[in-house]
C-alpha cells in the first residue's frame, strides 16, 4: 500500500503544472460547464489539442497521450488548480470510447482526429421530454429510407447544443419488443436541414442547455454506430466510461482551496473570516468529506490503472461527488453574505469573488439530476446490496 505518486508521476505532475501556469488563460474565469463563450472554450481546448493533451483519456493508437488513470487524474487536478476550464466531455470522454469500440474504421478516421484537436464540438442527444430518468422510454424515431435514416422527434437538456457541430443520439429504429431493444446510436450533423435548436435558460440565468427538434432530418446510414438495435448496449458502455471524472475531485479541490484563500482575504471585525471557529469548522467538514472522496476515487483509479474493473467503492462516487460540489458552492454563496446578492451584475460589489457565487450554486442543482439522478443511482446500487 502506497499513496505517493511514483517519481515518474511526480515529474509528470511538475511538467503539467508548469505548462498550465504558462498557458491557462488568466483573464477568463470558467464556470461549472467551461468558459462562457464557444470561442473561448474552443481556443482553450485547441491549445490543449496542440499540446497533445486534449484527448487525455485516449490510448496512443487513436492519437491520445496514452496516460493511465492516475496520470489522467494528475492532469485534471493540475488543470483545475491552475484555473483552466473543464473540457467539453461529449466528444472526448463519451463519444470517443464508443467509436473506438463500436465504430467502423471509417467513422474512427472521420471523427476522432477532429475531436482530439477540438475542430468539432459535440453534444449528446439522450434525454427526451417524456423520458428523464427513464431513458429507455425514448421516442425519437429513425426510419430507414434507402441509404438514409429519417429522424423525427425531440431531445431535451442538450448541453452545449447551441455550440455543437455534431450530436450523437439514441434513436428508436424499432418499436417491437422490450423498450431497451430497438434503440440505435446515430451521429447527426447539426447543420442538417430539419434540426432546430431552442435555448433552455437555467436558474443561473445562463444558456447552457437546449431543446433539439428533429423534423424529417435525413442522416446517412453510414452514421449508424454499431448495428441497429445496439444503442442500449452502447449507451451502457458509455456510462461505464464516465466513472473516473464523475466524482469531480479536481474541481472540488480547486474550489475548496479557492474558497479558503477567499475567506483569508475577507476581513472581519477582528481578523479574517477564516479565523471564525464556525467558518473553520464548516470548511474542515467540507475538506474532510473531500478527502474521503479523493481517496475513494484513487482506489478506483488504482484498479483502472491495473486494468481491473472498478470496484464497489466506485458506485457511490457520483452521489458523493455531486453532493460535495453542491455543498461547496452553497458554502461559497452563504459565506459571501451580502456580497453574494448581486445578480448578473457587471460591476464589482464588495468582494468581487463572491458576486457570482450563486451562479454555480444554482446551476449545480442539476448535478444530482443529470446523468441518472442520485435517486436512480441509489436504486441501482440497492440491487446488489439487498438479496430479495
Amino acid at each position: 500500500m502506497n499513496l505517493d505518486f511514483s517519481p515518474e508521476e511526480k515529474q509528470f505532475q511538475q511538467e503539467v503544472r508548469s505548462w498550465m501556469q504558462a498557458n491557462v488563460p488568466t483573464q477568463k474565469k470558467p464556470g461549472a460547464m467551461g468558459y462562457h463563450s464557444r470561442d473561448d472554450q474552443m481556443a482553450w481546448e485547441q491549445l490543449l489539442g496542440k499540446q497533445g493533451w486534449l484527448a487525455s483519456n485516449w490510448p496512443t493508437e487513436f492519437g491520445g497521450p496514452g496516460w493511465n488513470a492516475t496520470e489522467q487524474h494528475i492532469f485534471d487536478e493540475e488543470r483545475a488548480a491552475a484555473g483552466g476550464a473543464i473540457t467539453s466531455p461529449f466528444g472526448l470522454t463519451m463519444l470517443a470510447p464508443v467509436l473506438m469500440k463500436f465504430g467502423s474504421p471509417a467513422q474512427q478516421e472521420r471523427f476522432l482526429p477532429k475531436i482530439a484537436k477540438c475542430e468539432e464540438l459535440w453534444c449528446q442527444g439522450y434525454s427526451e421530454p417524456g423520458a428523464g430518468s427513464d431513458l429507455a422510454s425514448l421516442k425519437t424515431a429513425a426510419i430507414r429510407d434507402g441509404n438514409e435514416y429519417v429522424v423525427n422527434g425531440q431531445k431535451i437538456w442538450t448541453t452545449q447544443g447551441h455550440w455543437a457541430d455534431w450530436i450523437f443520439c439514441l434513436v428508436r429504429t424499432d418499436n417491437e419488443g422490450r423498450k431497451q431493444q430497438g434503440i440505435s446510436f446515430l451521429l447527426i450533423d447539426m447543420k442538417t436541414p430539419g434540426i432546430e435548436v431552442r435555448p433552455i435558460h437555467t436558474i443561473d440565468g445562463e444558456h447552457h442547455l437546449n431543446e433539439v427538434f428533429f423534423t424529417d432530418v435525413r442522416v446517412p446510414a453510414e452514421n449508424l454506430v454499431g448495428e441497429e438495435g445496439q444503442g442500449w448496449t452502447i449507451a451502457k458502455y458509455l456510462l461505464s466510461h464516465e466513472r473516473t471524472c464523475i466524482a469531480g475531485v479536481a474541481g472540488s479541490k480547486a474550489g475548496i482551496e479557492g474558497l479558503k484563500k477567499l475567506l483569508a482575504n475577507t476581513p472581519t471585525e477582528t481578523g479574517t473570516r477564516l479565523d471564525d471557529p464556525t467558518v473553520r469548522q464548516r470548511i474542515a467538514e467540507l475538506e474532510v468529506d473531500l478527502m474521503a472522496l479523493e481517496f475513494t476515487n484513487f482506489r478506483t483509479l488504482d484498479k483502472m490503472a491495473k486494468g481491473q474493473p472498478p470496484g464497489a467503492e466506485s458506485s457511490g462516487l457520483k452521489i458523493k461527488g455531486t453532493e460535495l460540489q453542491q455543498a461547496l458552492t452553497e458554502a461559497r454563496v452563504e459565506l459571501g453574505g451580502d456580497d453574494s446578492l448581486p445578480w448578473h451584475n457587471e460591476e464589482e460589489i464588495g468582494h468581487a469573488e463572491y458576486n457570482n457565487a450563486s451562479l454555480a450554486y444554482n446551476f449545480l442543482r442539476a448535478s444530482t439530476i443529470y446523468g441518472g439522478s442520485n435517486e436512480i443511482q441509489k436504486n441501482v446500487i440497492a440491487k446488489f446490496l439487498v438479496a430479495l
Binding site: L209, E269, D338, G350
Partner: protein
Amino acid sequence: MDFSLSSEQEMIRDSVNRFVEKDYSFDKYLDTVKTDAQMQPKTWQQFAEFGWLGQPLSETAGGYGGNAVDTSLIAEGLGNGLVLEPYIANIVFAGNLIALAGSSSQQEALVGPLVEGNKQLAVAFAERISRYNPAWCATTAQASDDGYVLNGEKHGVVNGANAETFIVSARTGGNAGETAGISLFLVDANTPGLTIRSYKTLGGGTAAELTLNEVTLSDDALLGAPGEGFAPLERALDYAIAAACADALGAMKAMLKRTAEYAGQRKQFGVPIGSFQVIQHKLVDMFIEVEQSTSMVLQAAVQADNDDRVTRRKAIAGAKAYINKSSKFVAQWAVQLHGGIGVTEELDVGHYFRRLTGFNLQYGDREYHLKQFAALSCDIEANAEQRAAA
C-alpha cells in the same frame, strides 16, 4: 393562548391571495423581474389601495396601526405569489424605523407619502465587514456647526435602486461594535457626496452599495436622538425579519404545493413519480418543515410586537435561524424532485428557489442568528430569572 386569526386578519389574508391570483401571474412576475427597479408603479399603487402600505405602521406615526401578525399575513401572501415589489424593505423595515425613531414632523413628511405609495426608502445599516451585525457601524457622522458630515460605506442596502431617501446609520460616538453612539440620518439620494451603485439581487428586488464622502447634512436630517439609533434600528430590523420569514414561508408553501402536484402527475417508468416511496417521504419531510416553519413565523410575528427585548430577540433570531435552514431544504428538494424542469427559468419553481436563496442571505444567515440566539439563551441566570418571572 390562541392561534386563531381574527376576522380582520382573515380578510387581509384573503385579499393578498385574491390579488396574487387575479393580478400577479407568473408572466407579470417575469415582466417585472426584467426591470431595473424590480417593481411596477401600478402594482405599488394597488398595494396602497389595499391598505397594505399603512398597515404595519402605528397610527400615531400616520399608519393604520396593524400588528405584526397582520404584516406577516401580507408578507406570506406576497412570498407565495412571487411578488417582487419591495414591501418589506420599504414599508416594514424603513417605514417602521421612521415610525419608531422619527419626530412628528419627520413622520408627517414621510409616513403619509409612504402609505399613499409615493415614497421609496431604504435602510443603510450594513457595512462591508459588519456581517449582519447592526452594531458594527464604522461610518462616521462628525458634528458641524449646523449639522453633520458623514463619511463611510454602506453595503447590501435592500431596495437601494429605488430609494429616494436612505436611512443611514452613522457613528456620532463610540466604536464599531458598540450599540451606543449610533445615530440615524435621512439622506436624500441626490445629496452631494453620496454615490449609489445599485444592482438587482439574485432573489429578485434590488440593493445598493453606498459611498458617503463628506456628505453634509443639516440638523433635521437626524432621525431620533443622537447616539441612540441602535434600539429603533434593531427593533425595526426585527419587524423586517419577522416579515421576511413569513415571505419565505409563503414561497415554501408554493414550492411544496407545486412539487406534490408534480409528483402526482409526472410519470417515469410508467407510474407517477409520487408513487415512489423515497419521493413520498421526501415530500413528507418538506411538509413537516413547512409546518414547523409556520409555527416559527407565527410566534415570531406575535413576539415582534413584544417590548421585552430578550423574548422578542429569541423569537426573531430563532425563527430566522430555523427558516434559513428549512427553506433551503424545501427549495433544494423542490428543485430536485422536479428533475430537469426544476432547474430552468421557464418554471416558477426555480424562481422561488432563488428567492429563498436571497432570503437566506438577507437580514442574517443561520450562523449569525444562532449566535444571537445562543447569546440570549446560554446565560443561565438570566433564563432562570425569566422563568421565575413568567
